[in-house]
Symmetry: C2
Subunit: 254 residues, 2 copies
Amino acid sequence: MSRLQYPSPAGLVDFQFKPRHDAAIWRQIYDHLLADIATGRLPPGAQLPGENLLAQSLKVTRGTLRQALHLLQQEGHLTARKGVGIFVRNPPASFTVRDGSRFIDSLDASGKTVETRTASLERRNATPEEAEALCLEVGREVIALARVRIVDGQPVYVNAKAFPASCFPRFESAYAANQSVNEAFEAHGVRLYKRLETRIRGGFASADEAVALNLTPATPIFRTASLNEDRNGNRIEWTRGCWPLTCVEFVFDR
Amino acid sequence: MSRLQYPSPAGLVDFQFKPRHDAAIWRQIYDHLLADIATGRLPPGAQLPGENLLAQSLKVTRGTLRQALHLLQQEGHLTARKGVGIFVRNPPASFTVRDGSRFIDSLDASGKTVETRTASLERRNATPEEAEALCLEVGREVIALARVRIVDGQPVYVNAKAFPASCFPRFESAYAANQSVNEAFEAHGVRLYKRLETRIRGGFASADEAVALNLTPATPIFRTASLNEDRNGNRIEWTRGCWPLTCVEFVFDR
DNA sequence: CAGTGGTCTAGACCACATG
DNA sequence: ATGTGGTCTAGACCACTGG
């Protein structure tokens, strides 16, 4: 039997571990850590003891320990930063996104804090992909907007939007007030618009995406792409984004 | 520089590998294998040399090699079976599923072979989950249908359906002809029905699901759940299913 | 600078599937 | 009985981060 204590809001936590013979050791370590995360003994944001100390305490090799840690990272419970440490990733609970409504409305709005951070906003020529999605001639100007949505302190959605620049001459100023695309739309007389198409794929986080989403690289993620048009059938918004696989459920109803 | 040959339809394939210093060795092995899969030098269904031989040929440790193999399994390119070997998983290409249409119609129908295998079909009491989804009283009977959809020889969708038994007294015989739920519906006068809701979540394959989908356990997958009602608003079909993360794109348009 | 996680080595034993 | 992938050990060096 091995034993380790780590600090928590509720005081020192006993990490007791006695390997059984009916399952892989790393699996038992995984179960143990997952239980501590689920119960809050390892609270969101907490840093784990270093791998060397942890492995030593558990009387296993680093390699064995790392198998457990790796799966917990894949599942979005932990996130590792080289040279820094391993941290409990918030939130373990998932939330729901409904298609066709605004992000902030589509959350199961049960006491979750939602924050929007604008990463970049610029006008530039459309990429071929953007031009095709928005039915623009190549070389036409678009407004490119990149944002991160943060729920309960954790980034859960990074996206890149493109709008035909000609449709929104005053986009920047209208958007700036509340970081609201909706307000920018309304400032240009676009009140009703509808979802033309939403696509969902799976993928794995690139290095950049991993940093933005506070994930370990190569963690599985959702990739979404959606297209909005105004009431006249003009395509006005093209959005691509990614989400941690384990913290969101998409709902489509009609 | 290390060198290995393995058989392929086009004859022996040179596996040449000279590690660079600008990236992790396992990453280079990953890139190498992935390229061979993409080009068809490692064709679908092919078995890789054993890990011992492969590691020896590449002049790396099994552990290093396994890092590359593990990621390729996560991404659905390879599948490993204990005691048997590691195989190239078909298809590397993904296909598209549209919401609200029949599976077979919703494929990008470009020469893909589609097969349906019925795993089980029975009448039993509804589970609490099924009862809630179908708005049945607890204990009412449902028809439970489990199937696997196989595209181009690879299982890509396993699902479990439930129908209110009282709505479809002759389900089994009507279904049996072509393994078609649609035909069973039509035999009971249900011609028009509509999608009430579709939910998409992420998850990781259980041991059973991994076998059914020809994946390595703990590979990331999609989990879907959808609910259909007839034109009178009666809920007639509740489907839960899972798909390999890397071989499907969901499209929702309206 | 010290500590972190990322990578890699060179072994070993095991459960499992197949012939 | 053989070969497979799954697990585990006991080390080592590295790049990176932060104080």
